[in-house]
């Protein structure tokens, strides 16, 4: 199944060749756009394939599944791949619309491709240490992008991001070592087998806790999210959009994978920690958002709050909750990154995104307004927009499990989300235009808006055609939770003993 390597290989080759190109030109741009389109196609094809036949396995180097590294693409991975390629495509197009090729930073697009490499590798790999390498590719690239276009004022904000992620990497490496010590292997499937054998061993929970911290830090769960709102606002629009869409979601994906597939479903302590941490994340994140007074700052804090919803679902740890989490991820990535692009456009038009310096967009740029309104309301979970359904499923699960406190937290978070979105709406779109009138609409605004509108259309499709996406998310969740089948698909040996919560329903 060599296809599974393409989502990693294509962007890497694209980035490298773009580097040899060195000067940004229209030709280079078209090449990158074309390749990104190709990546999207591959991802969708993989999705169709894994939907039909379950996990696709590639033993890299032909070393079988025990000796070497294994790439595994199940439906969830495929979904994430499709989302990352889609977001990358949107961001590249937006970046092209924002500046002429001559003004573009020559390293921006290649580095974005390498970021895609890291993200996609995290999605396809079936090996713990390879996941570490993927994280490093992702992190180092994000460091590079973070400081690439930072000016002499804001470069220092990169430190908050680095300082925490460096600690996280060290902890992750330590965790890999511990995992090898405990399981004698690094392959997810084999680890799952060993984990079942080790049921009841305190070290299993200890290791789970270590990974909880590592991936919680990546996903931005309370109180590990501090790096995010401090650093994201210094990014240029398109890069910020990709960061906001994908990076934290890699953490969520890994949480789903590790606590759905690798570890046996018998870690109530971990799930409780996840659920309550998620509750706090939702509330603190959205409170932070309301407190901000710049578009990108508000949106950055919102990422955190939204992460709370997904992680809460993981904490509930039922098949339906996993479905909810996946549905929520699908919605969130599209909506969030397009909102960041709106923020970028606001910056582009006014030269700043300070709420007190903006206004009048509802008349000047109605399409931008419509897109923002739809995406913002979707984020706030207004039916029948895409954001509602994931939230609805989580509420259903919460009511069913009678988790009233967490339910209340979710409701408070939703309403505060609405409050902060209205803050942007009232200031940027409804308020009268700032003194000195509207800045003459900068070139490119129209094309930038069209990208955003396109993404909005997609999220509308998700919201109205939710039946399809629900079906996909449901199957993806089942594939993640169906440990016996996963183990068998990877190792080729049936594992009837492997625990799974699917049987409970």
């Amino acid at each position: 199944m060599n296809l599974t390597v393409l989502p990693v290989l294509l962007p890497m080759l694209t980035g490298l060749i773009a580097l040899l190109w060195s000067r940004p030109t229209a030709g280079r741009r078209t090449a990158i756009v074309a390749s990104t389109l190709g990546q999207l196609g591959v991802a969708l094809f993989l999705g169709a394939l894994s939907y039909a036949q379950g996990p696709l396995v590639l033993p890299v180097g032909g070393w079988g599944t025990t000796l070497g590294i294994v790439l595994v693409v199940d439906l969830l991975s495929a979904i994430m791949l499709a989302l990352s390629s889609f977001t990358a495509l949107a961001c590249v197009l937006y970046a092209c619309a924002e500046k002429p090729a001559a003004a573009e930073h020559p390293l921006q697009l290649p580095l974005t491709q390498f970021l895609v490499v890291g993200v996609n590798l995290a999605f396809v790999t079936g090996d713990m240490f390879n996941l570490f390498v993927a994280f490093e590719v992702m992190l180092v690239t994000s460091y590079a992008l973070l400081t690439l276009e930072s000016d002499n004022r804001n470069v220092r904000h990169a430190w908050s991001y680095l300082g925490l992620n460096l600690v996280g990497s060290a902890l992750f490496l330590l965790g890999c070592g511990y995992a090898y010590g405990l399981f004698g292997t690094l392959n997810f499937a084999e680890m799952a087998l060993q984990a079942d054998a080790l049921a009841g061993d305190p070290r299993l929970v200890l290791l789970a806790l270590v990974f909880l911290v590592v991936f919680g830090l990546k996903a931005g769960v309370f109180p590990f999210y501090y790096w995010l709102p401090e650093s994201y606002p210094i990014l240029p629009g398109p890069v910020a959009a990709f960061f906001s869409g994908m990076l934290t979601k890699v953490g969520v994906y890994v949480l789903l994978r590790v606590f759905g597939t690798v570890f046996p479903p018998s870690l109530p302590l971990v799930y409780e920690l996840l659920a309550w941490g998620a509750g706090l994340t939702m509330v603190f994140g959205v409170l932070g958002a309301v407190a901000q007074s710049r578009v990108q700052h508000i949106l950055s804090y919102h990422i955190v709050s939204q992460i709370g919803f997904m992680v809460l679902a993981i904490g509930f740890h039922t098949p339906l909750a996993f479905t909810a989490a996946i549905l929520y991820i699908i919605h969130h990535i599209v909506v969030k990154s397009s909102l960041f692009l709106v923020g970028g456009t606001v910056r582009h038009v006014f030269g700043t995104d300070r709420l007190d310096a903006t206004g009048g967009l509802w008349r000047v740029a109605p399409w931008l307004g419509v897109a923002f309104l739809i995406q913002a309301m979707s984020l706030a979970g207004l039916p029948p927009l895409s954001g509602f359904w994931g939230k609805y499923l989580i509420l259903v699960e919460g009511v069913g499990e009678e988790r009233w406190v967490l339910l209340a937290a979710a409701i408070v978070a939703s309403i505060l989300t609405l409050v902060s979105m209205l803050k942007i709406w009232l200031a940027c779109f409804w308020a009268p235009a700032p003194e000195g009138g509207m800045p003459a609409s900068r070139p490119g605004t129209r094309r930038m808006t069209s990208v955003v509108v396109g993404m909005t259309a997609v999220s509308l499709v998700i919201g109205l055609g939710v039946n399809f996406f629900y079906g996909v998310a449901d199957r993806a969740a089942r594939q993640v939770l169906d440990r016996p089948s996963y183990i068998e698909a990877v190792t080729g040996r049936p594992a009837p003993g492997a625990e799974t919560i699917l049987s409970l329903r």
Partner: protein, 120 residues
């Protein structure tokens, strides 16, 4: 089946010292802290390979058949060292840049500008 106490002690000492340095304000000390931390973690990975006494290096050529140490952690550490080198280099550059831009090598003074509302 044995647990190397000395390794644990060294790793513990180095990690503690590394954390102590990382939590300081001065760029150079923080840098030292992270270099130290990556070394400590590499040692930890090495320890997981188990007690080497009585075993030979994992180079088969002449020594086929004799008990050998586990090569996998060594490979992992090699990868980790390389990545660590890249990150260290980046850190040096970042600190250099932050110093040039803000004319201070002290995180406290650096972040103090936020209180004055110097946000991006």
């Amino acid at each position: 089946m044995s647990v190397q106490l000395d390794m644990a002690i060294v790793v513990g000492l180095m990690t503690g010292a590394a954390v102590y340095l990382i939590l300081q304000k001065n760029f150079v000390r923080i840098l030292f802290g992270f270099i130290l931390l990556s070394n400590a973690v590499n040692l930890a990975l090495l320890a997981v390979a188990g007690d080497p006494s009585g075993k030979t290096a994992p180079v088969l050529g002449d020594a086929v058949g004799r008990p050998m140490v586990d090569p996998l952690p060594q490979a992992l550490i090699l990868t980790a060292i390389v990545i660590g080198f890249g990150v260290t280099a980046y850190l040096v550059f970042l600190f250099y840049r932050m110093f040039v831009d803000h004319d201070t090598a002290d995180l406290e003074e650096l972040t103090a500008e936020d209180e004055k509302g110097g946000k991006p």
